[in-house]
Symmetry: C2
Subunit: 227 residues, 2 copies
DNA sequence: AGCCGTCTTTGCGCTGGCGCAAAGAGCGGA
DNA sequence: TCCGCTCTTTGCGCCAGCGCAAAGACGGCT
């Protein structure tokens, strides 16, 4: 059982590796092909999941067409915490990005884990509050900032949790289309494409179909900060 | 000590009234004049607060001028849950709307309350997740919907937590300006004013300086649903 | 009663960025 | 190798709604 990466996760802070193995053994591992949907928005929330390998894309839909990417969930992170509560539905859908392995935990298992490992409850509160703060900031930004600035922030956010250094450059190590970056930023496919083209000319990014490399992260950071 | 309204609060679900009194006695009551700031965004978070009377406005600022109202916190509700965690800062500022009384709890008191009353931890998780879901939806809406639709939704949201029935009409029972409604919706003072004027002509709302009455809630609901 | 500060209304011009259309490019499958 | 699908690029027109300006209304205070 692969547990690498778990110790960086805020969910399993303060939990030793042996305890961790014991926890994971209480869940059920599932393997998902790229594009497979783990759960649908609105379905009764019965299980929480921890990603072992690969990545989940959480998104919510608006009646007719428009869609927002709420978050990407990488190895060691928890998805669908809501399942610890009774009578709730999943507030978002989860789709695998690339081949992905997850462990699923039933509600009673989650409650047992919380009871056995007291720090976990606080970790869950911390996790939820961090996400809340992030959403509040994104809400402020979508109101107060220009699209290009928001695209830069989106790239930096995604980079932080899924970036792979190679020299000065940073590769976003999962396939992401213009459309998905637009859904994450709250803009359109067209605007993202135009913006990335412009940045490519400036040497800030390099990209091919579904892959984005951030060639000059510093320039992007400056861009988000200035006016 | 006034505890009315507490039993509707999700924070104190499953807690009996006698236990409640005992909990409140562990905090320190403060009285705030209208407009007084209880805590500032970015300050070290040392206390959580429960509103007894009046109302808090939580807002976050963007560098130069723009501001978003995150939420209004009414009697029985908890603000600044983040203070249960060590080393965090307040992610928003809190300002009293009208004369307001709150109880403040130090971190160690909060931790003691959680330890003494096991359901509280789950209630806090539920509370955080509910807020997260609300913010995610607002984020989706600000991207996907027209301003007028969002203004209608904002009015309905505020109405739900601070509405006072009188006949068919519903009064929002605290002073709220066009600017504040704009900050809540993510639009401008001007657009809110124009929109409310139009709705006033249609008989959907009535308003004077700082007061809003929703004369036809049903019309607003339909308006948010259609196209 | 009168003043002053704050809140509200409305006209008007401007523009960011949306979204259609259509062409081009890359990748996988047979 | 060729075909077809999906992803990307770019031109172009259009409009929602922002934001200035200026006038008007309300309410609290002396």
């Amino acid at each position: 059982m692969k547990t690498a990466g778990f110790n960086e996760s805020d969910f399993f802070l303060d939990i030793s590796t042996t305890q961790l193995d014991q926890i994971i053994r209480q869940g059920k591992v599932r393997e998902l092909k790229s594009g497979a949907v783990l759960f649908h928005q609105g379905d009764p929330a019965t299980q929480s999941f921890v990603v072992l390998e690969g990545r989940l894309k959480l998104c919510i839909l608006h009646e007719l067409g428009k869609e927002i990417v709420v978050r990407y969930i990488g190895p060691g992170e928890l998805a669908a915490m809501v399942a610890v509560l009774e009578g709730q539905n999943y507030p978002a859908s989860a789709e695998a990005v690339g081949l992905t392995r997850v462990v699923g935990f039933e509600r009673r298992t989650m409650l047992k884990i919380i009871a056995d490992h007291p720090p976990v409850a606080l970790n869950m509160i911390r996790n939820a509050l961090n996400r809340l703060e992030e959403m509040q900031n994104r809400y402020l930004e979508i109101y107060a900032e220009q699209v290009e600035q928001r695209i830069a922030r989106s790239l930096l956010r995604i980079m932080k949790q899924a970036g792979k250094r190679s020299g000065d450059e940073i590769l976003i190590d999962f396939p992401i289309t213009r459309q998905e970056l637009a859904d994450y930023t709250g803009t359109t496919l067209y605007t993202v494409s135009r913006t990335l083209s412009a940045w490519q000319k400036k040497g800030w990014v390099k990209s091919k179909r579904g892959r984005i490399i951030i060639a000059n992260p510093h320039a992007l950071v400056l861009f988000t900060e200035n006016f």
